[in-house]
Symmetry: C2
Subunit: 303 residues, 2 copies
Amino acid sequence: MRFDVTILGSSSATPIFNRYPSAQLLNINERYFLIDCGEGTQLQLLRNGFKAQRIEHIFISHLHGDHYLGLVGLLSSMHLNGRKKPVFIYGPPELKEILEIQFKYSQTDIRYPIEYYFTNSDKPEVIFENQDIVVETIILEHRIPTTGFKFTQKRRLRKLMKEKVEEFGLPLPAIHLFKRGFDFTGMDGKVYHYQDFTTDADEPRAYAYCSDTICNWKYMDSIEGVNTLYHESTFMNDMLDRALETYHTTSLQAAEIAVKAKVGQLLLGHFSARYRELEPLLLEAQTLFPNSKLATEGTTFDL
Amino acid sequence: MRFDVTILGSSSATPIFNRYPSAQLLNINERYFLIDCGEGTQLQLLRNGFKAQRIEHIFISHLHGDHYLGLVGLLSSMHLNGRKKPVFIYGPPELKEILEIQFKYSQTDIRYPIEYYFTNSDKPEVIFENQDIVVETIILEHRIPTTGFKFTQKRRLRKLMKEKVEEFGLPLPAIHLFKRGFDFTGMDGKVYHYQDFTTDADEPRAYAYCSDTICNWKYMDSIEGVNTLYHESTFMNDMLDRALETYHTTSLQAAEIAVKAKVGQLLLGHFSARYRELEPLLLEAQTLFPNSKLATEGTTFDL
């Protein structure tokens, strides 16, 4: 099952050096999930060869412009390009008001349904679930209400060894049992053990998206043990005071979180406009957590 | 005196083929005037080497997203980059509400003054004036209230022939008189004619910006005789029905307007996403009005 993320924007606050504000496109089993939607996201989708119409679910972490200003443009373009199928939007309640006032004054009567799910920033909640994935909020601490999002794969059925089943000529119900970890007893009373006909399913994987937040340990439970953690890393650690003051995280702190939460890999993003070169932020994180990477525009990471 | 325009966006509705939504930067005597501000305008300013902080006046023609969605991002970046001097915004009254609700929910307390001047779409009005220029609205006809903008240079003083004045050793008051077209009579009663000491000032030039609109003759008075007319040209004439239905203009109609209004040059823009190549739109306009040009991203036109 595909489970990867493509970075569409890595910049904080103001876009610069060809870095765009926050946006990431998740491909989960060939379904598109957009996380945040900074100004220019629809252009970044085009540039990276993604069809915006394939996006079904949009998750907005908070209402700072660099995380949602591309949304009206994206939704309007979907409308102009003839979309009929719904879009599901997960974000703070005020987002609906912001979108609707703009549709009203532009007299845009969006022809497809927009379904809102309002996040709250008090406690983590499951906000979406399908056969492949569960999405939960992560409670972050920023200057305004902000949530991250955790995407956790569901445990899949055991993997069938097809040739083995064929060899014994077992019926369909046996397969259903084996895949779910049950043995099968034939008409003759012979017991077939599921371990002989299946191998373990892949371990479910998880991706946590944390932007923007001051470094704290309150959301540690939410991100513990995820395979991939995206964490904002607005500043280097010599700007720690500025990070604290603006409720942001340094690259060293992001690495510290990755270590404590025992994650598999760390993706760094949301870089301040003061850094033309990003290598120093990466090196700083790698001193504590070697499997750190720069989540820059156009890069796709297997999760 | 500098009087030129740089095109930052030439696309209609949805951005595509590396074309951006509407935005143009006027340089009038080294002061920056922004006309429309589609999504991505702040990035286009950066890319074309313009400092956003130098923009003083912003003119928004109407509240379709492709003409204003870049404004919150631009104003926020100005704020984050420490701007103190005011920004003057000219546009429909509802624009203020759209901006303020977004500043409210993002808890952005813009630290520089924003002064609004509300346009109305009933009759042309002078909305700005300084020593160099007068700006008037142009009443367009689109699906929602829309105005264009006409920038007309003020007539400057006559040009002094400095060496001539020095040759005769005339005093300062004589120069003031000559520049304004008056003769000077010396203490000895001798009359010095202004034509002998000055040449004619350059003819004031005018630029009219018309986007978006159905082709009609009601705004002909406003644009008559301008040196440069920017006119939307969303479709080619084989799409005339679609143009009428959506209140847009074809390139042939734009050329017809240029002919009737006796303008100097015609800039075509606001191209539909259906056209990958723009040459056919240009050729269509040039069949009627040879001095037509494509107003594409990054091009600067002397006005």
